[in-house]
Amino acid sequence: MNRIAPIANLDLVSIAMSKLINRQDGLPGLGVYYGPSGYGKTTTIVAVANETRAYYVQMRSAWGKKALLEKIAFEMGLRPASTVAANLDLICEQMSTSQRPLILDEADHAASRPGMAELLRDIYEGSQAPLMLVGEEMLPSKLKKFERFHGRVLAWVPAQPVTLDDAHQLKVIYSPDVAIADDLLAHVVEIAHGSVRRLCVNLVNIQEHAMLHGLDAIDRATWGNQALYTGDAPRRM
């Protein structure tokens, strides 16, 4: 159980990040990773952040420029300066010298607040270090408004829906003691609607059910019509 399943998303983002880090001179170093919630974005980002020793900051809706820069400075472990401009300089210096990437999660907040996208562009321009934004499905279209930002993105990475191949990898981790037949696995993938989170919840449910009833193997017929987690609110009877 001690590992991360190497599902498709992890490979995609790792490749994008190494593209940003090892890019040729003159190429832009911005990356955007976007997708609906539950697609395993955060888990993927954790792996990438550990791989590259990236600075990770999760943005909040309440943050203005000053707060954002202070949080980034905090995450870098440097003593924040008193003004926005001085903080920007400090952060740029630290990023350009260490060349450690900066990952901003929930970057949608930057797109919906005036001046924030320009600030992110300043950080990138001042440091030329890799910067990756992570956000919801609509993030690319929100960023389109900021043409000068949009043009500097080297890698657009859409989070991929979970596949049957991924399910085989995740099965080993989340239900290791039960042989789940392919027809049941395919059904679980289908009702997950692409969400890794829902798939994992159901794999755990199936494992618990099988343990409770003393089953070593389980298929669609044995499972029958029992409820699986779909994320929908329950219907009235």
Partner: protein, 210 residues
Amino acid sequence: MAATKQKRRSVHLEMVGGKGGRQRIWEAIRVRRNGFFLADISDVATVDLTTARTYLQALERGGFIQQINVTEKVAEAKQYALIRDNGLEAPRLTVDGKPVIQGLVNEAMWRTMRMVHDFNFHELAALASTTELRVAPGTARIYLNQLALAGYLIEIKKGQAKGTSRSPARFRFNPARNTGPRPPMIQRTKAVYDPNLGQIVWQEEPDHDC
């Protein structure tokens, strides 16, 4: 590290305001990047001359600093300049100037637990492991237990040690205790030292009954 056979001292004795000797040396160098002498650095950073010399040698071998004057006379002081700036953090190097990887495991775990909502030690070890760095579940378990004692973590489900439904404890990171990017250290005495605050945050209470 210094080649002397001195016993390893615990971290908090070495640190002033959460900064170790090498960190103070590095900061002193960055301020005087265009030319500095060993004696100045040792003085400004309040680090022993031989300790400072060892680190400067490591930095030179690692390609971070370079001698810029030509020394002809005996005992003439070497002047160095910073040629590769690594940013805020002092490069962690062996005497030969090679990077030290010890301590990266704690850093990875600390980064991971601040990013993920809730976890047990198995999950933390899995999430913090990378292709280059493997985090053993046992390491994660000990680290989690100590951090929980020190109040960094909130236990959201108690662990079950016996019976058929054995399960490890689940934790959530306590956002009020996000003190900074450097991972708290577990010292030999099992005290927890937070380098972000520069202080010991948890210590075993002495047993007064015996």
